[in-house]
Subunit: 199 residues, 4 copies
DNA sequence: CATGAATGAGTTTTCATTCAT
DNA sequence: GATGAATGAAAACTCATTCAT
């Protein structure tokens, strides 16, 4: 492994360790030593690879966002050819988002943590805003393929993503059964998404 | 002022100070001294009136939830007589929730903080779950007055509240213009709520 | 009750409350409020009746010492007439000390606390020294009635009281069964005390 | 210096600092910062090397007990060969205990502190009980070599150690001159120990 | 006399960060 | 590149004491 890649590997190790830590404790209550222990590294190393504890957080958030963004992009690339029908694509898109994001409990927990951080941290907020904007825009583009009402498409995409995040929040806070949440979303998809788009 | 009322006054002062603090910093980064300074009290007093920092938080959350619950109940009491038509009532109910809760930015910020705390704190989670369950149930009852499909009503109320919380989240995270958010919600109300209910 | 006696009554209440507290926690870990709660008084009153927390302690120690001193003196007064035989008196004296002091577990615990305080507190040490000196002198006088060897009598009394305090310590630290401790002391009395004195 | 030895060195430094502190102030009034100052360390280090203030105390007590236990064991190993006569051994044993323990004023002060702590602290009490039991047993074995009466040997050893601890207490509380205490103990040894054993 | 609100110094403990080895 | 010792700031919490009512 090249020197560069060792560095990258270590950095990823650390970010993944933070991920595991965040499933147990909020960031503020997670110490550098906690993360180091989970990463199997000496805590001094974390300061070698990152400027500060906050720097680790910032990189972690970027990392999570990137991961899901590329997952999405990859999926689009692989599916767009097979799903040429815009309506089918929109449905598949909804399915993907629901399965990979909304119903992913660990991810939901992590994002609630990230939302909170964003509220008080300008940099994190900016990253988050950008990520959500892109997500909404992707949905918007899919909707625009079957609807010419720009205003409606814009609001619909915004509202749809907001709805999914609300569902993700509730599934965690209310400990809703995943099957029931899924059924609810399917129901929603059948009735509303269809109705809306078919307008 | 009587002894009793000094006690109550001080406790309220402290909870309100925490409220102001939470608009600036997350709870974990808010020290007892910070709260005391905002409340204009000696920090020792906070331990005189509350068992611990956590006790302040728990009381604060209860206080916020109670405030909005009673606001809601009061509204229902004052409106239920004038809105005998179930559909009108449901719309008015939606309006109320949107205006007092969803579009209340400070409240939204505070709740994002509370969601995060709930993720890692059983007691807070329980309080939150109870509050949301009651809110959903209230909506459910309103829906049931115009629909006999229990399953649908249940999902609809759950989804509606989740949607509102998603919107509240996005309006804060994306810094969406309040007017636009309001318009979006009105749009939603016009198209979907109506459609759904009239089914 | 006169004003004076109310004062005295309150003071005694407080000292007795401290006594109860000391059976549970060391003085340093006993707060003024703890004592007040046990005494059934407002904690502010403790500062009205005593100069400071330390002042309560000093008065308490004096109080305990006085109580046992007067108990002893009273006993001597009541017994000295019936026990004219010096040897009988010495044995009765030993019995009294063993029963009232050495085997009194609560008292032993309290005195271990007082010893410790005395180590670091000149005033307490002085009080304690005086009390032990008087005790030893009392025993010395009893011994001198049956022995003319002043040096031996002096050492014997000193050693005897030291022994009793060592036994009291061990009965508490080693949780020795009281019956066994008593038997041991009886044994000691039979063999040594007798032997020594009869010399 | 190796890593390991730095650790050990620091820990010893801290325990010795506590020792010095305890000669001046009771443990409860000795702060972590006091100990750190005497040890010449940053107070944060004390929490690096020990879990808590209580952990320091527990280790200190163990350390003191171990030190005297091994001193004793070492002495026995070196003397047992030269003192084959059981009576001589018992006398030498008594001499050793008197010189190293009973007449050691600093040690006596420290132990009065430890007794007090033991009264309210189960762990400390257990350690102390074990140490005294072993000490008593050692004496018991020495006595059994010259006496076949098990019951008497057992009581004698218990009483002898209690006596020595009582003397140690009095020498500190009454500020008895060390020479006089020593003479008293020699006297005791001559008369009683001999008498007892020769029975 | 009695109350309990208020003060402020002091305590243990945690931790991000630095740095010599 | 590692390691772990060291620092120092800051946290929550306790409490003797004072004092207005």
């Amino acid at each position: 492994m090249t020197r560069k890649s060792v560095q990258e590997e270590r950095r990823r190790q650390i970010l993944e360790a933070l991920h595991k830590c965040l499933l147990k404790k909020p960031f503020d209550q997670t110490s550098i030593k906690d993360i180091a222990a989970v990463a199997g590294l000496n805590h001094g190393m974390l300061h070698y690879y990152f400027k500060s504890k906050d720097d680790i957080l910032l990189n972690y958030i970027e990392h999570v966002i990137e991961r899901y963004k590329s997952l999405f992009e990859e999926w689009i690339r692989s599916e767009s050819s097979t799903l040429e029908n815009p309506t089918d694509f929109l449905h598949a898109c909804f399915d993907f988002m629901v399965q990979k994001i909304t119903l992913n409990r660990d991810l939901s927990r992590i994002f609630i943590e990230i939302w909170e951080i964003a509220i008080y941290n300008r940099k994190v907020k900016e990253k988050l805003r950008k990520a959500y904007s892109e997500w909404i825009e992707t949905v918007n583009l899919a909707i625009l393929k079957i609807s010419n009402d720009k205003k409606t498409a814009s609001r619909l995409s915004w509202g749809l993503v907001a709805f999914l995040e609300g569902v993700s929040l509730f599934s965690v806070i209310l400990d809703t059964d995943t099957m029931e949440t899924e059924a609810l979303l399917k129901d929603f998809q059948k009735r509303f998404l269809k109705a809306m788009i078919d307008r």
